[in-house]
Symmetry: C2
Subunit: 160 residues, 2 copies
DNA sequence: ATTACTGCAAAGCATTTGCAAATGC
DNA sequence: GCATTTGCAAATGCTTTGCAGTAAT
């Protein structure tokens, strides 16, 4: 329940993630013979500075001005790299524009999305995953990843 | 399964669906105080004439010329109505542009999508659904619908 | 020095929308 | 006859891309 955490704790956790992630991203880039640039460092830092879910456009807006300026195009390009490197995951369920979520230091989980407030509720269930694995072997399908989303109304919104 | 069917059988099944669906769509429209128009009938028929999965743009292209001409805008508008009426379901997993699938005369099912050939494999599993229901009550979440997709490589593509 | 990356602005693409003409009720 | 729908084309909004300049190796 990261929401209940105190600001300080959250900030520490975030900083820790960036510090762990950056060297890994550097090796990823080197392996790919791509370059280690300022812009890429800034985007990565900003991704980890954000909450768990964010959209590309918001991120681009945040970086469109100020000392850490990175252009919109580069933000999108870097986000694609980060996805390839396995730091973030794209979500295209609710809206036309893509949402992203961290996958680094963040265990696999599924989502419930509230129709009313749009809140993402995370949950996980080992038995659920087991059923998926079974279904795959039954259909001779080799799973790479999966995505489970439940749409409906959350408890808070039903009280109102 | 439907792929193995003979053309005739498939055609009959399709025609049956349209004939059942149209009157239902008419009552839906009347209840909504909307109008029963030619364009809407054509779009509905074309939706059922298509395979199980299709995208809005393809449908619009098919109807952009010929005797059953319906404009692109109207196709999108009608598709939204049909979704509201519960005949089709939107899928936004693979690509930027939305895919649709029939939900009329078609039991609830989940998908596996092959990374290589893009094929949709349908599967269903009652126990899987049960776990979802449980997770929802655990989180005090009222489910409206859900969506499960597994990404990976299908058996056929791994043989090549 | 060479080659990749960035910024910018322009292009793309699916989808939506405004408005005059057409159609259903 | 009146209100809703349609067709068309223009607009929208997110995302991608071409190109000239800039930075990393």
């Amino acid at each position: 329940m990261s929401k209940m955490q105190q600001g300080t704790e959250l900030a520490e956790e975030v900083q820790q993630s960036v510090e762990e992630a950056w060297p890994l991203f550097v090796s990823f880039l080197k392996k790919k013979q791509a370059r280690v640039t300022q812009a890429r460092k800034i985007v990565l830092a900003q991704v980890f500075a954000r909450h768990d879910h964010f959209c590309a456009d918001d991120l681009a807006s945040e970086l469109s001005s100020g000392p850490n300026h990175v252009s919109r195009g580069t933000v999108y390009r870097t986000l694609a790299l980060m996805e390839e490197a396995g730091f973030v995951r794209v979500i295209r369920d609710t809206d036309v524009h893509a949402h992203y979520e961290h996958t680094f230091n963040h265990p696999v989980h599924e989502h419930m999305i509230c129709d009313v407030c749009g809140e993402f509720i995370e949950f996980s269930d080992d038995k659920l995953i087991q059923r998926i694995t079974q279904a795959c072997s039954l259909h001779n399908f080799k799973e790479r990843t999966h995505r489970i989303v439940v749409f409906g109304v959350c408890g808070a919104c039903r009280k109102v």
